[in-house]
Symmetry: D2
Subunit: 294 residues, 4 copies
């Protein structure tokens, strides 16, 4: 464990737009079910309609309605696209979910979208605008009772593409370290891990050597099964597994904190050899998330 | 419990297109994680890019690679749209997931799409076409090892929109009955429950009385908080909660079996009053899924 | 919701002895698995060898070894019985669990038991006493690597028998309220809910009218199916479900906080009618946990 | 993967007594919660009051009351001790659990214990003996409604101590293989994996070289951190992790099937080196569970 090398490099992150919402429900499990559906199919801007994930559990004495909740973050590269995603994801995956309500966690953001107003037309004339919990809400009669949603939802700048590479002697050691890293990041507020289980098994490079129509292809320099077949492998001869973890945060500081906490967790797993990160020499993004801070 | 009324009506289901795939992984939990992400944000064709869900757990002696797996179903209303969804959902949510492989569960379907071939370009020239498990697969080197995916995937006709309405004295009784019904349907092969937790809290009617731009709005006749305010309520005075469950199957028989099994389960929950279903007099679909069979 | 009656009564709690430990592991899930097994079969002193439960998740930057962990509490009515339970539960359910370590969360308690020393004999001469994380630990070689456990574990006074009764129009409404209450209590540090899911479906009275050999029997005054058959029913004619929640804390203040938080959560569930609590006029215990504070 | 050595040896299993029961509830999750509590603190006869575990999920059309259920197995080394465990575990962990009922899955066993009759005294005179589902049941009024339990429960001979050792290059690879093996065994009917997560991190030998008072101590020959310090290590120089899995079945055939299925699953995990099993030359038990069948 003592011999893990932390490379003196950085993850290259980039600016995005994000919404930050709270879903509450009668029980913790019901809130979780809605949050999972609303943030599904949202691992990467390449190929998914959004990057999204669950931020954290919010205890009953910190929610407006004293019910258990989960905060979620939904990212896209423009305010308009975030608005589209909100309309579809909250309309189809949360309005439809049992016992849920939805609240704005960015009330002070300059950009506000009237998602609640738009969704209220589902009420077909029976919806009501009300004041409750010191907020302006819409109350929409539905089969299960009344659905409550705040009128406005903030959209803010955010930082996508925080990442770490984990290299290990065995594939399962790298994977366990990735799981431990995601466990650690989950307790950092304002940070999500959009990939399945928070983990990327197939980390990519930008573009392609072979196929001009591909925007992203396998990062062969980090592929264990290619290490003896290519000249540019960055893996040592006894590395047999690499996993990447990817995370987005509301600010660069959030991503920095998540990075350090993930490194702390990774270092606890036996047979991990190297911790590194993906960057593209500044081609992709404007944020440098350093692994080693002076 | 004895006094539950099962209305002599039918759910109106409609034809769709579907892919039916198997995701395997090193452990049951890793396979599940990938399956959840790949079928997320997929509750309804109105507003979601697909209807999708997990079909069932597939035991290690029934998978090609002897690893635990989950079968999933992804529906859209044309072959082309299913192909698009496959490319994005498998490419972004399964290729990226730890230790996964993907197999075709519709090898005999007349329509086959070469999803594995298309995704293999991610290998940037390092991919290989191989024969294994009596199948044609692509082996794509990735950071974690090699990703295996079958070359072709079948697309078939399927039946969407199976549904039941559950009315009860208390909202939580209707909800528990809906959960029990989803529990029951989960063991019917070839059937998915695409909504969050399989349940719809906000069952809708087609169109709107008030807003011409809305394709679906609240089904006010079944809204408990409106029952004393409108003339067309279908709820008894002591009904305080209604939940809908929605399910899609590969064939009408699958949906029929699921319907009967769900009814059996719903009948076990105290304080349920009525079981009904949603139909639109034949406007929406061609299949009549009867609640009571002669 | 507005009409819930909170009875001006108290739960009668009693003194017990408790151990308070931290189980860490490579991943959150592995730590949880060990904690569940170690605290199983431990709902009540009547019939179980202990009352035990998981306290809370402990984040990687708050554990000695930077791995995810769960704190657990194990109660019995004497120091000696707590020591016996520790030896068996930690020896059989945590030493055997994958990747775990165990730490003392009561280092300042006057009573310390040398559990780590006792378990170290499992090492059959290969065990070592070491200093690590500013603690005295035993390192025991096992098949999976080395098992680490602190030498001493504190035992303290604690408060058992905190409870609330929840009465509702439907059984499922009372149950959902009980689940919401347990969700709320789970975030109160130093409090456990030892029954299955934290909930008691069969709340009891002390002793029996009919059978002198029974120490506890059904509390018929709160049984919905008896309300029309007995004279002493405490249920209104439209109450059809009652659930009790039971919780133990390290101090009376912990139990007081849990009680108020649970009440807050219960009040959010529709169709709940009354919140009360069980007491025995001071026969059972020395602590009065009031529902309503002046 | 191709080079895994399966040693031509056997696991030594021994005769025990077992009860085999079905717990049903309103939902799958509620049934699971009760089953987990009832089978907790039950990893090994050495130090635990029983060996117990969940057998499998039982679908709504295979349970007497059409509710979802889990079958469980509880083992002890005499009929009397099984009876004691049933009384305490079902009385404290299932009678107390929300919405549960309990049924006998060994109605044809020669030995039947009247557990339901004994527990019915909890009803304090309000219990009733009834016929339902073609069975003789007790109906006990409780706070949540009525608790139903069958009158008699069978006790049969069973086979404990099925096991496999998994050796791998990295600890996490052995662990993942153990998890995959447990996943595989879970679908074998009549077989339980009583340890935490089904896995033993600290496999033991009978007795001790150093301490006459110890009945079981670490199996130093399989401890990776001792392999360079002792003469009798059975591990190769590049083995860094060993996990054992332990399972009990109702018959030897059940344990044989589980063994083969587990081996099939283990073989799918990279970096596993050897599969073996624990035996004691016939000192412990009468059953030889061979790894390789002619």
């Amino acid at each position: 464990m003592d011999s893990i090398v932390i490379e003196d490099t950085y993850a290259e992150a980039f600016k995005t737009k994000a919404a930050y919402l709270l879903i509450t429900a009668a029980t913790k499990e019901l809130a979780y079910t809605a949050a999972v559906e609303a943030t599904g199919f949202a691992t990467s801007f390449i190929g998914c309609p959004a990057e999204a994930g669950i931020d954290e559990y919010v205890d009953v004495d910190k929610t407006p309605d004293n019910r258990p909740g989960y905060s979620i973050i939904i990212c896209q590269n423009s305010t308009k696209k975030v608005e589209e995603q909100l309309l579809n994801r909250i309309g189809q995956c949360v309005l439809t979910a049992a016992t849920t309500s939805v609240f704005n966690l960015l009330p002070d953001s300059d950009t506000q979208t009237n998602l609640g107003f738009k969704l209220s037309f589902f009420g077909d004339g029976y919806q009501e605008k009300i004041e409750k919990y010191d907020k302006t809400l819409y109350k929409i009669p539905v089969m299960s009772g009344d659905f409550l949603i705040e009128e406005n939802f903030g959209i803010c700048d955010a930082v996508a593409g925080g990442n770490l590479y984990i290299m290990a002697k065995c594939q399962q050691s790298a994977l366990t370290a990735a799981i431990a890293a995601v466990n650690a990041i989950k307790s950092v507020p304002h940070v999500i891990t959009p990939f399945p289980g928070g983990i990327v098994a197939s980390g990519s490079k930008v573009g392609s050597h072979e196929y001009s129509f591909m925007h992203a292809t396998t990062n062969e320099a980090y592929c264990p099964t290619l290490k003896d077949k290519i000249d540019n492998s960055k893996l040592s001869s006894d590395c047999n597994g690499v996993y990447e973890i990817v995370f987005d945060g509301l600010t660069q500081e959030d991503v920095d904190v998540a990075t350090q906490k993930a490194i702390t967790a990774i270092k606890t797993i036996p047979d991990v050899q190297v911790i590194s990160a993906g960057n593209f020499g500044g081609k992709l993004g404007e944020y440098k998330i350093k692994l080693i801070n002076e």
